[in-house]
């Protein structure tokens, strides 16, 4: 699952120092109670879903747009043609860290990239007035637009760039700035550049509203921005802006109505897909060498594409066509292999989009999609899967050993006689030292239970060791029987990945972790201790996994917290 981790790093996870769990500002597992919920959040807490405003209205420092938000917002402003023209400059915006690792502050490289984007986008737009006309500013196509035309542009483009109406004073200032060079083209270039570099464009500025003590009751436009970025990953569009202008974004009921409306929007559904892709780390899906024995003749590039498509079809169909609950998402045996290669890997008929999908009893739920399973090494796959489950699905943070430790353990791994030693035995031996067991006592059982899938995500009943020329060197019986101990449960004996995912799906720790991931992704920042109650609210909306997941995404918008911001000096 965490295939993007280099093998060398992944193998390093074999080793741990004393104290496996790394510190975070929140313990969403419920194991230690965190804060806000104070020991009650493991089950969502008795107050989950009924947080007091003081528990949910939090102070967060001014946050820049994530790189994805910036790209989406820019496209909404300048259109796809200009976005394509500035793709080099946009690509120069530094990539963000994983959301759960925290969004990096803006850097000099950000400023350089933003400035380059602004300059080139402005010049491109002004050099071809047809582009401006296509964006809804037809009067700018004339050779010498009048003042009314330019002021109209300032009002509209300014609203979209600032995501808030300009004051009359600000609009006058911008017009004077435009008029200063005495040349329409030059003035317009400067004006667009200024708007594209404005703090309201590059940051989530929330200053509109009424200050009540240290809490700001956000105005409708700020609320519209929150709704749009959480659901669409982009700026609000015209209907939402109109609702803001009409003062229709002031109650939880109004927010709920908008959430329901937007969740039917393909853009929101696509954004949810991005969330699942990020959660399951599908972007790191490997492309194996054509002669990799794991493939058994399957074509690697085609297989990778088919695997990604199947993952998307699974999520989209269950969420939006079947209104699936979290439990269903985690346990459904429906599969969607539209390509013969993946159908062969899954051992089912090819699925035709629009028709009922086949089922695969040995592959229940999101976690057993090939898109979530595939790695590039049979030896390391179990450990990576175990680490992934702990970190990303159960939100149990695990420390990563240093590179020197990793390198020393690599030598042990390279010395494993794969022909004589089953993977489970090899991993048990390598992770036997007490120092390793600090983490591997938790990792290994999860890893061993999932051995009934090979590194490619193909179901198997025996472990086959294959040489470079694809000849079978040895077979080993699989031992997938494990005892799982997690904070909220007694030790549980399980056999194989099917039992494991069914067990994990029902844990409130898993459901809470998913709630946390949704919270983090939609806000492009990690959840902190102060967010405990808000995450609990999302957990409560899942009704212990039995409510449609759509409810959770709606609850992520439709709550009192969306209407407020705390201002602390």
């Amino acid at each position: 699952m965490r295939r993007v981790v280099p093998r060398i790093l992944a193998l390093g996870l074999l080793v741990a120092f004393s104290g496996c769990y790394e510190g975070t500002d929140a313990d969403p597992s419920g194991a230690s109670g965190g804060s806000g919920g104070e020991g009650e959040s493991g089950e969502g807490g008795p107050n989950a879903g009924a947080c007091e405003p003081d528990q949910t209205v939090v102070s967060r420092p001014l946050q820049r747009l994530s790189s994805q938000e910036y790209r989406n917002t820019l496209q909404g402003l300048v259109g796809p043609t200009v976005l394509d023209a500035v793709r080099l400059e946009v690509d120069a915006v530094p990539a963000d860290a994983r959301v759960s690792d925290g969004l990096n502050d803006a850097s000099g490289a950000h400023v350089d990239a933003y400035a380059a984007v602004a300059a080139k986008a402005a010049v491109t737009l002004v050099a071809d007035p047809a582009l401006l006309a296509g964006l809804g500013y037809p009067c700018l196509e004339t050779a010498a637009p009048d003042e009314a035309c330019v002021r109209s542009f300032i009002e509209t483009f300014g609203l979209l760039a600032h995501r808030h109406p300009l004051t009359a004073e600000h609009a006058d200032d911008l017009y004077a700035f435009y008029a200063d060079p005495g040349d329409h083209d030059e003035g317009l270039v400067r004006l667009i550049m200024r708007l594209l570099l404005a703090p309201q464009m590059l940051f989530h500025v929330e200053t509109g509203g009424e200050l009540q003590g240290e809490d700001l009751k956000l105005d409708d436009y700020s609320v519209a921005n929150r709704i749009a970025y959480r659901l669409l990953g982009s700026a609000p569009r015209a209907p939402l802006l109109a609702a803001a202008a009409a003062g229709e974004l002031r109650t939880v009921e109004q927010l709920d109505a908008w959430a329901e409306t937007l969740l039917d929007d393909p853009a929101a559904q696509e954004q949810v897909q991005v969330l699942f892709d990020a959660w399951m780390e599908v972007a790191g899906l490997p492309v194996l060498a054509p002669d990799d024995p794991l493939l058994q003749g399957l074509e690697p590039v085609e297989l990778r594409a088919a695997t990604l498509d199947e993952f998307t079809a699974f999520v989209q169909t269950l969420l939006w066509e079947q209104d699936a609950t979290f439990s269903e998402l985690m346990t459904s045996t429906q599969v969607f292999p539209a390509s013969p290669a993946l159908a062969e890997l899954y051992g089912v008929p090819v699925w035709t989009p629009g028709e009922s999908p086949p089922t695969a009893a040995d592959r229940p739920g999101l976690l057993l999609r090939a898109g979530a399973m595939a790695l590039d090494s049979n030896l390391t796959a179990p450990i990576l899967r175990g680490v992934f489950l702990l970190r990303e699905v159960l939100c149990s943070p695990i420390a990563t050993p240093g590179v020197d430790i990793i390198n020393s353990r690599l030598e042990d791994v390279d010395e494993v006689d794969r022909v004589a030693t089953p993977t489970r035995e090899a991993i048990e031996t390598i992770t036997e030292p007490v120092g390793c067991q600090a983490c591997h006592a938790a990792i290994n059982p999860l890893a061993f239970a999932m051995q009934d899938f090979d590194a490619l995500g193909r179901s198997r009943t025996v472990e086959t060791v294959v040489g470079e020329d694809a000849q079978v060197l040895a077979t080993h019986d699989l031992d997938t029987k494990v005892a799982i101990s997690l904070p909220e449960t007694d030790s549980q004996e399980l056999t194989g990945s099917r039992e494991l995912v069914a067990f994990v799906a029902e844990l409130s720790q898993t459901q809470r972790c998913f709630s946390q991931r949704v919270f983090e992704f939609t806000r492009a920042r990690p959840a902190g201790v102060q967010d405990t109650c808000a995450v609990d609210q999302l957990l409560a909306s899942m009704a212990e996994g039995d409510a449609p997941l759509r409810d959770l995404f709606a609850a992520n918008i439709a709550n009192e917290q969306t209407l407020w911001r705390r201002v602390e000096d």
Binding site: I8, V123, R194
Partner: protein, 484 residues
């Protein structure tokens, strides 16, 4: 707005500078009209820089072991250079970091020519027929192909290819006093005198002067001034926290830094002011300044520079001798030499990137700058995994900010690049010509698909086998790296 200097530089101006003046006269920025910009195809340039005697592992990114996890396609492995913690490599040190997003390191590009000190390699992918002093294997290098094409030069320019060879000891070994170019089977000479080049380029009026208009750098500075006021205005809001203001202040500081950098004007189309030639570094600076000015000001779209002097003229004395040795001292000297060479490369990259073009890209963005060696490493004269650093994306035609390895099995050990099949370097050359607007009929010889020689597939260095896979692939462009 900056004004053009009222007088044109003269030979006397050059001599005065060369005599030792180190006065830095601000270069004028590019000037253009908005109406000339927009979605028009950028004017793409090619800059080739050759240093000799190969590289060692200190050239290559230290992260090659990670590439097996990043297979993009058959024989394509790639990852972002931004993922490398610390410098890209010892040779491509921290000074390259500001340009990391505009670089591409290419591994696994194999020469199909005879192994030798092939100074014509960068733009031919080949060498000499039977040895170092024989005729070139290829009739025309790609700079010549490009220069002859009216697709690349729809309007004639004064210097279709600027061939530079800043050097003071041309009679030295392994050095033919020539450029990397081949025309009709003959290796062409390069210019080694900055004064001669200066007089040729700048003594007469530029036939393609920049169109008067607005300086985009000054525009950026002006706009950012107003944007800073916008940030200050927001900062005064009573609805921001102290942390918010800190972040805004930090952002404004970054904008101020950008303005400072923008204020350093990079180019004088009337002729750059020489900085003297008391040192070899100044010698190179003079050549580089003229090259960048010629590229920026429309005098040429192709420039080549050979960087080599034998003996002790450059740091890390006796580079050729060192390259054949494996002693610690020789390796250390090689690092000194290649780091010094990298500094010249960096100077070119930085100066290309300092010039903003009418389309808003920098000159570097619209160019393809390539740093090549004529052999992959010195001791064995290997031709596998030719060291290739690219800067700029040729106006979006090539990926940047990446390390791409074209080996079938990427090797962490640079010396093992000969073990696994890569791709023909020729595919880089055809990709470049395609990026510049040419098509196959412009470079293919009758009956010969692709570009360059495939005649030596069986030479002694092909003993690893598998090279016959290149047959039939002559027309391929470099996958993934060439976006097209």
């Amino acid at each position: 707005m900056a004004q053009r200097r009222p007088h044109r530089s003269t030979r006397r101006t050059f001599l005065r500078g060369a005599a030792g003046f180190t006065l830095t006269v601000p270069f004028l920025p590019s000037l253009f009209r908005v109406a000339d910009a927009g979605l028009a195809e950028p004017s793409r340039r090619l800059v080739s820089f050759l240093s000799l005697n190969g590289q060692r592992d200190h050239f290559w990114p230290t992260e090659i072991p990670r590439t097996p996890d990043r297979r993009i396609d058959t024989n394509v492995h790639a990852y972002d250079l931004s993922e490398i913690v610390g410098p890209v490599s010892p040779v491509l040190g921290e000074a390259f970091d500001p340009f990391r997003s505009k670089l591409a390191v290419l591994s696994g590009l194999d020469s199909l020519g005879m192994p030798d000190h092939n100074r014509i390699f960068p733009l031919t992918g080949a060498g000499y027929g039977g040895g170092d002093n024989d005729a070139p294997q290829v009739a025309n290098s790609i700079d010549v192909v490009l220069a002859r094409s009216n697709k690349f030069y729809p309007t004639p320019v004064s210097e279709p290819v600027l061939r530079l060879q800043p050097a003071s000891d041309q009679a030295a070994d392994w050095d033919r006093n020539s450029s990397t170019s081949v025309r009709d089977g003959v290796q062409l000479p390069g210019d080694s005198s900055a004064e001669v080049v200066f007089n040729r380029l700048f003594a007469a009026p530029n036939p393609n002067p920049p169109v008067p208009g607005v300086d985009p750098r000054e525009r950026q500075i002006l706009v950012i001034d107003r944007v800073k006021q916008d940030y200050d205005r927001l900062r005064g809001s009573g609805k921001l926290s102290g942390d918010d203001r800190v972040r805004l202040d930090q952002f404004v500081d970054y904008m101020r830094d950008l303005q400072t950098r923008l204020a350093i004007d990079p180019i004088d189309c009337d002729g750059p002011m020489p900085v003297g030639e008391a040192t070899v570094e100044e010698l190179y600076t003079n050549h580089i300044d003229m090259m960048v000015a010629a590229l920026a000001c429309g005098m040429t779209k192709i420039a080549t520079m050979m960087c080599y002097q034998s003996g002790s003229a450059l740091p890390g004395s006796n580079p050729h001798g060192n390259s054949h040795e494996t002693t610690d001292a020789a390796i250390a000297n090689d690092l000194v030499y290649n780091t010094w060479t990298a500094a010249r490369v960096l100077e070119i990259i930085a100066k290309l990137d300092a010039f903003v073009e009418p389309d808003g890209n920098t000159l570097l963005d619209n160019s393809l700058f390539m740093w090549s060696n004529e052999i992959s490493e010195g001791k064995s004269h290997d031709m596998f995994g030719m060291p290739t650093l690219i800067a700029g994306g040729c106006g979006g035609k090539f990926r940047t900010g990446v390390h791409v390895n074209f080996q079938s099995v990427p090797q962490r050990d640079w010396a093992s690049q000969s073990v696994w099949l890569g791709r023909p370097y020729n595919q880089l050359l055809t990709s470049i010509m395609a990026a510049m607007g040419l098509s196959r009929e412009d470079w293919e010889e009758p009956g010969q698909p692709g570009f360059g020689t495939y005649a030596y597939l069986g030479h002694e260095y092909a003993s690893g086998g598998g090279w016959d896979e290149y047959i039939g692939a002559e027309r391929d462009y470099l996958p993934y790296y060439y976006v097209g």
